[in-house]
Symmetry: C2
Subunit: 74 residues, 2 copies
Amino acid sequence: MGKNLVGNHIRKLRFNQDEMTQLQLADKAGVTRQTIVALEKGNYSPSLELAFRIAHVFELPLEEVFFYGDNPKQ
Amino acid sequence: MGKNLVGNHIRKLRFNQDEMTQLQLADKAGVTRQTIVALEKGNYSPSLELAFRIAHVFELPLEEVFFYGDNPKQ
DNA sequence: TATTAATGTAAAGTATTATTGACATTAAGT
DNA sequence: ACTTAATGTCAATAATACTTTACATTAATA
């Protein structure tokens, strides 16, 4: 569906929260490290299901991890 | 990624809010009617991007339209 | 009863997301 | 210098989301 309009704070959260590595996050979210890399780079937006799982790893509401457009919640 | 673990309140919201038809919602969200049908039926979960767009049509936070697992927010 | 709008269903094709495997780079520690 | 952990990247494939087209059913209304 065209270019990616969804942004995220994954990288920031990995460091802020727990010093979690890409691999640790990938494991907890049930995906491969490559998927985390691609998401951090903004290559594409995840499925809704994966977005929920990642938000759950960070124990945050989905919309504090992912945002639509170029207006992160803050 | 296996079976669909994401649920939604799309059908309910279409009626509660505006008596919006599947086609109207589809147009506003920028997808085809078949996509709305499939989502209402729970055939699959949308991309995160589409989830944001649908939530935006209803003027609701994403997590009031979509939920993970079988625990809708209420 | 003919028409129209809304909905359901199905199959084939395209686009996007995610995996797998492999190799390169950087920084830290021994 | 060597090793190891973390990250970046690339290409091929698999899996899933979405489109397109087409036809069926139901309910409302002229």
